[in-house]
């Protein structure tokens, strides 16, 4: 009989308003995984989101913190209207301002968690998007504590009419009152001790985060040395919060403690805007997404042979001839805006001016202006590109034309002015000796100097180029930013044999476990890992220059490849067995571990533009971000929660407007124990569960 009554209720209610019915399921945490069960009427219902936040030692935190983590199994409900920043203690005005901005951004991201927040309004958080008279701060030293007439005094009652930016669309600010959630206050207190507002490779990114709830007061306390640590803490805090469908509110883990700091200093992403152009907004979204993963370096491969979208005040010819269209140019104001946007998100921008290869577009004006051939092998002499370089269009700077270095000096000056960078990437990849071999100008130059056309001489030419370019860069740096900048160069036999280990950082592109990698370390080079078979994102589609051969011979790297590729394990495998210990250092006294600054995923844009960028990048780069932040030891002892946390993290990024690819059917999130492979099944049944 009881069954029949329930049936009737379901059907009747369904006719009225089906999707306001509660879900028939509840979720329980078993062996660190959320498992869906049909709800029996006796038990309390636990929503999926609540389970995800609290199940397993690390809940839905991504990347996994490296220090102590304690999360209570309960959550409390609150509305973002009742959230406020009650304390910002910083030792500098600039840091205070940055923290205020970071909390505004944090708040906006919480509003995005509402499932009815319109997708198309999830834009980069620019000045138009965030109103300065944010309720968050207007009421900082507020009336809430003593207030009696709660509802009328609530700031958004007034503010809502004049809401700007994202607030216009936030369903949280339109909802009716709910006594359960309205009661709860959520306060944030931030203390930052260092006045240093500039990010460098040595910046302390550690933080402490404590969430406490006493009755109707929940307080999150953040303590960090630098702004950058505090920013990471806010990101972690946001990952202790999820939407709560039952109350149409947010929920936060009731009490929590997190101590955290990254294992690697350099956690980077490279985007190529030379082969295809990305509008400013796409880059800002990229900075957003990187910050959700606590990544800290954006290597911007601005130009390539195909286009030169960088506007240079000193050399406007470059973009005039080199951009795809006048709309597809990065102007100084755009760059300043992007660099500032990145900085607030804990990201330092590294501009690249690739050379001597990967140059053609934008350099065409030399002869016309009496400066000779600035670039060679552009295919104008009836020579097909494949005889001159690696891909169309071919082109390589003319190392024997002194004007090239003057122009480089001007471009570096502009770059330094616009970016004020800590490091500059100088390229140095894919240099084609075929090009120089085919060039009459080079042959004549070599002959005139009594040199032969051999590989050895071409290396010397390259070295000449590199040294002169380096001097131009440092000279410009001295003049414009009053300091040296650190150059990065791609790995190659040239880099190994010619460049100075004390001046350059090497970006290592070799395949995983290639023996060359050990060579850099043995020579005491500082390195950034970018193994092209593991951490390169563009190897997923067919080739673009007109044949069906696959772009990449091996299988495409999946999120697991990105996750498992471990620089230190690789060094260990290559015989540098002290990479994971403090013992047994190199002859120079340096521990190999300290030479590994970190890693970087790369996206070469031959087959990608703004449309494909996000799905190709995320969540695969999230997986790498955990490798670099946490450096988990594999195989994981106990319950491996990486996949389930990544599922949740991916969903969170989607809520925030990032079009990340799903890695599984949604079903696998509703039953985190269901989607296992044969190997995992066998492993599970042979190793007793902890």
């Amino acid at each position: 009989m009881r069954v029949l009554v329930v049936t009737t209720l379901v059907v009747a209610a369904a006719a009225e308003n089906f999707y306001r019915l509660p879900s028939p399921y509840t979720y329980s945490c078993k062996e660190s995984r959320c498992v869906k069960e049909e709800r029996s009427h006796a038990r309390e219902q636990r929503s999926l989101e609540q389970c995800q936040l609290t199940c397993g030692k690390y809940g839905s935190l991504w990347p996994q913190p490296t220090g102590d983590v304690q999360l209570s199994p309960e959550t409390v409900h609150f509305t973002p209207r009742n959230m406020k920043v009650t304390k910002i203690a910083a030792s500098g005005q600039k840091v205070s301002e940055m923290l205020e901005e970071a909390t505004r951004y944090f708040t906006r991201n919480l509003h995005f968690l509402h499932p009815e927040f319109p997708e198309e309004e999830k834009k980069p958080f620019t000045e138009q998007e965030h109103p300065v008279d944010n309720y968050l701060f207007n009421n900082q030293y507020d009336k809430f504590d003593q207030q009696q007439n709660f509802d009328e005094q609530r700031p958004n009652f007034v503010k809502r009419k004049s809401a700007k930016g994202y607030m216009k669309y936030s369903p949280f600010l339109k909802e009716r009152n709910n006594p359960i959630t309205d009661r709860q206050n959520f306060n944030i207190e931030i203390t930052v001790t260092s006045p240093d507002e500039k990010f460098t490779i040595n910046t302390d990114e550690s933080y402490n985060l404590v969430v406490q709830t006493v009755d109707d007061q929940t307080t999150a306390t953040i303590l960090a040395t630098t702004y950058y640590g505090a920013r990471h803490a806010l990101e972690s805090l946001s990952q202790l919060i999820a939407y709560d469908d039952t109350n149409e509110s947010l929920q936060i883990v009731k009490t929590a403690k997190i101590q955290d700091e990254p294992k690697f200093k350099y956690r980077g992403f490279m985007l190529d805007t030379g082969r295809n152009f990305y509008p400013k907004e796409d880059l800002m979204r990229l900075m957003d997404a990187m910050s959700y993963n606590k990544m800290n370096y954006f290597h911007w491969h601005i130009t390539d042979a195909a286009s030169f979208p960088l506007y240079s005040n000193r050399r406007p010819e470059m973009a005039y001839y080199g951009s795809y269209s006048p709309r597809k140019v990065y102007y100084p104001e755009d760059i300043t805006e992007i660099v500032q946007y990145a900085k607030l998100r804990g990201i330092s921008v590294i501009p690249e001016l690739d050379g001597p290869a990967h140059t053609s577009a934008g350099w065409q004006w030399g002869e016309k202006e009496g400066k000779g051939n600035l670039v060679l092998c552009t295919g104008k002499q009836d020579e097909p590109w494949f005889n001159l370089g690696k891909e169309p269009p071919s082109g390589q700077l003319n190392p024997v034309n002194p004007e090239v270095y003057n122009v480089l000096g001007e471009l570096y000056s502009d770059m330094l002015q616009y970016f004020d960078p800590e490091m500059v990437h100088m390229g140095g990849d894919d240099v084609s000796f075929k090009c120089w071999q085919n060039s009459v100008e080079i042959s004549e130059h070599l002959a005139a100097n009594g040199r032969e056309s051999t590989s050895r001489e071409y290396f010397e030419l390259w070295n000449t180029y590199q040294n002169k370019a380096f001097s131009q860069l440092q000279e410009a740096a001295g003049q414009l930013v009053g300091r040296k900048v650190t150059p990065i160069i791609h790995s190659s036999s040239f880099a190994r044999n010619y460049v100075d280990k004390n001046s350059y950082i090497i970006q290592v592109n070799e395949d995983v476990n290639s023996t060359e990698i050990a060579e850099y370390i043995k020579q005491d080079f500082k390195v950034i890992f970018s193994n092209q078979d593991q951490w390169r994102l563009d190897c997923s589609t067919s080739t673009w220059f007109g044949d069906k051969a696959k772009n990449c011979a091996r299988e495409i790297p999946t999120w697991q490849h990105f996750y498992e590729n471990s620089p230190l394990d690789m060094l260990y495998n290559l015989g540098l067995t002290n990479a994971r210990t403090d013992a047994g250092q190199q002859a120079s006294g340096v521990n190999p571990r300290d030479l590994v600054l970190g890693g970087e995923a790369t996206l070469w844009s031959s087959e990608t533009d703004g449309n494909g960028l996000q799905a190709k990048t995320w969540p695969r780069v999230s997986a790498m971000a955990e490798r670099l932040w946490t450096d988990p030891i594999l195989p994981v002892q106990g319950h491996d929660t990486a996949q389930k946390r990544l599922n949740t993290h991916r969903q969170r990024m989607v809520f925030r407007g990032i079009h990340a690819d799903p890695i599984q059917p949604e079903y696998c999130m509703h039953d985190e124990s269901a989607c296992y492979s044969q190997e995992q099944y066998l492993a599970r049944s042979t190793i007793p569960a902890q």
């Binding site: 016309k368 000796f433 085919n438 067919s542 220059f545 999946t558 031959s606 087959e607 799903p662 269901a674």
Partner: protein
């Protein structure tokens, strides 16, 4: 009015035009268009300079009238710009340069130093010296080559080489058609006009800022679209004739596009073709249409489909609408909707609300009947039929759990059973309970509602793939039922019961469809295998959809037995391949990723010919690309579907004798078009290749390569 020509002018006098631009319909900003660029360049290298635009703050607007159409000297212009630029740092920094002036934050345009001319079907990029009569890239592409930028390629086309400028506001419809078809046509024409708007680079949410100082002739130029349709068909079937004729001629200030088609569906395709004979004119801020054209066109295949799986992951109605829009842009005509699977049951049924209650991922991830009806209509206006699939007897599970608590017994067995490896091909498991007669009652209700919301159902997909006999054979209820009915428990006996199930399902659908038989589609499976297919499935009732490799001998078998077939061979037409496996490290089962080249070259007729010696054009109805959604949801679907779906579309519409190579430049342009229409189609090449037709080709190296020259 032909192509823009270089205007002869005194070397030191420049023409100045002023126009205002509207941003997002709200902000108005004065835009100064002046012939400033090239001031200090030698005369022979000066571009025509139509388009140096200085966009200025609104405070400058008042100067607009003073400036308009004045002839000024260089110094006057420079001074003027300085004055206008005021304290704007970018403007000032640029003033010292010869490469242009631009200010203000939002809209920035340098002039382009390049122009294009058409040479043997390719657009060649050159420095625009203002003398050679170079045109913009869009204009060149529109008229270069026998088919311009039409996609899919029509059967025959004759396109003029001139264009004429017009504005979308001056486009109107003259319908010469039957009453029945008029509402459909009006709606299709509105879509057509909407697509014209989307050519504008500043198009946003429904409209574009068409405001500029056009030449008087382009401002008044009218485009009349005459549509002649005799037929009264309002629903697409396998017998619908989708052919059309399209003739464009221009006389004075009027262009007439005449469309002649046997029915609405042909006329709709003609409207799509007509949109593709139009492009945006960057220098004029207008549209341009090919002056004269004549197109005769008809599809090579009747069934040109796309499958979307909304069960593994959910897709919103908006995402499905966007997909239907894009299918229409490619003249694809069948949307195969794999609605349900074991993972979730996202369809709300009035008579069986428990299906979605138990089966939907979340209460908001459900298709309601009014939404389904809306999609059916939405598709029809775009020339698309929706084929619903209710996969059975396998691929059912979540959503079917409520039988026991509601006194109907187990409707499905093995639901979410573990370890899944033993009972199904991927988690979670589930298969219909053949032993429970109530299962058929429920099936009948589902079919009835499907037949209603998808009405009229022309084709119905019964699924029928990946039945796991071990599930049934390990379920006590089923084995005892088998035994009680004197069946053995071997493979053949289970196939017999599967066959019985399929026959009952067919009858149930016929019954609820008012006794009208519907042609069924089934996935190729054990049931469609050599030994069994004729025993269980009649070739007059069923079409078989082939998803195994294109070399599978079962294809020949089916064709010999006169089964109609649809190709979805996974080695070419599965779109989700080449991604991560979703349960373990490594790539998914059907990897690698197949690029557009492979999709384009996959020819059903060639496959049939290779296996049987005949193309079997009567039995091969067409093909379908499948987007299974284990690792895809609407966040990233567009880039998986497009532009590869367009490659499939040309194979199925045109069925060219040639491979992808001659199609490449049209394809790249078409991809750009899809992006303009709001689809996040993937890039296939650097933009450089788009601006340098044919330059991104690899041929055999001609010269010996220096050994080890790449470090």
């Amino acid at each position: 009015m032909t192509t823009p020509q270089h205007h002869a002018r005194a070397p030191h006098r420049m023409r100045l035009r002023v126009s205002s631009m509207v941003f997002g319909g709200a902000v108005s900003m004065a835009t100064l268009v002046l012939l400033y660029q090239g001031l200090s360049l030698p005369p022979d290298t000066r571009p025509p300079g139509e388009q140096l635009i200085v966009s200025l703050e609104s405070r400058l607007q008042r100067l607009e009238s003073d400036l308009q159409a004045k002839q000024l000297t260089i110094t006057e212009i420079k001074n003027l710009v300085r004055q206008l630029a005021g304290s704007n740092s970018r403007a000032n920094s640029l003033l010292g340069s010869q490469y242009g002036v631009l200010t203000a934050s939002k809209f920035v345009r340098l002039p382009s130093p390049w122009g294009y001319r058409c040479e043997s079907g390719r657009c060649i990029k050159e420095v625009n010296d203002g003398i050679a009569g170079l045109v913009t890239l869009n204009q060149c592409k529109l008229t270069c080559g026998p088919f311009g930028v039409l996609w899919p390629q029509p059967q025959t086309a004759k396109l003029g080489t001139d264009v004429v400028e017009f504005l979308p506001t001056n486009v109107f419809l003259t319908p010469l058609i039957t009453e029945e078809v008029l509402p459909l046509l009006r709606e299709a024409f509105d879509i057509f006009k909407g697509n014209l708007e989307k050519h504008h680079p500043h198009y946003s949410s429904g409209s574009a800022p068409w405001s500029s100082h056009w030449s008087p002739s382009s401002a008044v130029h009218g485009v009349e679209v005459k549509v002649q349709v005799q037929g009264v068909e309002t629903f697409l079937t396998l017998h619908t004739n989708e052919s059309y004729e399209l003739h464009i001629h221009t006389d004075g200030d009027k262009t007439t596009a005449t469309i002649i088609a046997p029915n609405f569906f042909g006329a709709r395709h003609a409207l799509e073709t007509l949109t593709q004979l139009v492009e945006y004119h960057e220098n004029r801020g207008t549209l341009m249409i090919v002056r004269t054209a004549s197109v005769y066109d008809a599809p090579a295949f009747k069934y040109r489909g796309l499958l979307l799986d909304t069960s593994r992951n959910f897709f919103s109605v908006a995402a499905i609408e966007r997909t239907l829009d894009t299918m229409a842009a490619n003249k694809l005509n069948t949307f195969h909707w794999h609605i349900t699977d074991t993972h979730s049951f996202p369809l709300y049924l009035e008579s069986l609300p428990n299906m979605a209650f138990y089966g939907a991922y979340t209460p908001s991830q459900i298709y309601h009947p009014h939404e389904v009806r809306h999609l059916v209509q939405y598709a029809r206006v775009r020339g698309i039929r929706i084929v619903p699939e209710l996969d059975a007897p396998a691929h059912v599970g979540n959503g079917w759990q409520w039988g026991e608590t509601h006194g109907l017994g187990k409707l499905a067995v093995c639901v979410n059973k573990e370890p899944w490896l033993s009972y199904c091909f991927q988690p979670p498991c589930g298969q219909l309970n053949l032993a429970n007669p109530n299962m058929y009652t429920v099936m009948a209700k589902i079919y009835k509602e499907l037949a209603q919301v998808f009405s009229p159902v022309d084709l119905f997909h019964f699924g029928g793939d990946e039945v796991n006999l071990n599930c049934w054979n390990t379920t006590e209820e089923i084995t005892s039922w088998m035994t009680a009915n004197n069946n053995s428990l071997d493979v053949d006996a289970y196939y017999d019961q599967w066959g019985v199930f399929q026959e009952k399902a067919y009858q149930l659908l016929t019954t609820v469809n008012k006794a009208v038989q519907v042609t069924g589609i089934l996935w190729s499976s054990g049931l469609t295998g050599k030994e069994r297919v004729e025993r269980y499935l009649s070739n007059s009732k069923y079409i078989i959809q082939i998803w195994t490799k294109g070399s599978d001998p079962v294809i020949a078998e089916l064709l010999r037995k006169n089964y109609r077939v649809i190709f979805s061979n996974y080695d070419s037409w599965y779109l989700a391949c080449g991604a991560a496996d979703w349960m373990s490290k490594g790539n998914n089962w059907c990897s690698p990723y197949q690029g557009w080249h492979v999709m384009y070259d996959n020819s059903p007729h060639d496959i049939a010919r290779n296996l049987t010696g005949s193309p079997h054009s009567d039995l091969v109805l067409g093909g379908e690309a499948a987007l299974w959604s284990e690792q895809i949801d609407e966040a990233s679907m567009d880039a998986k579907l497009w532009p590869r779906g367009a490659a499939l579309a040309e194979r199925l519409w045109t069925n060219p004798r040639t491979n992808w190579q001659p199609a490449e430049t049209r394809f790249i342009h078409h991809r750009q078009r899809l992006v303009k229409r709001g689809v996040q189609a993937d890039r296939i090449q650097p933009e450089w290749c788009y601006q340098n037709d044919g330059a991104c080709r690899r041929q055999q190296p001609l010269l010996p390569v220096l050994e080890n020259c790449l470090p």
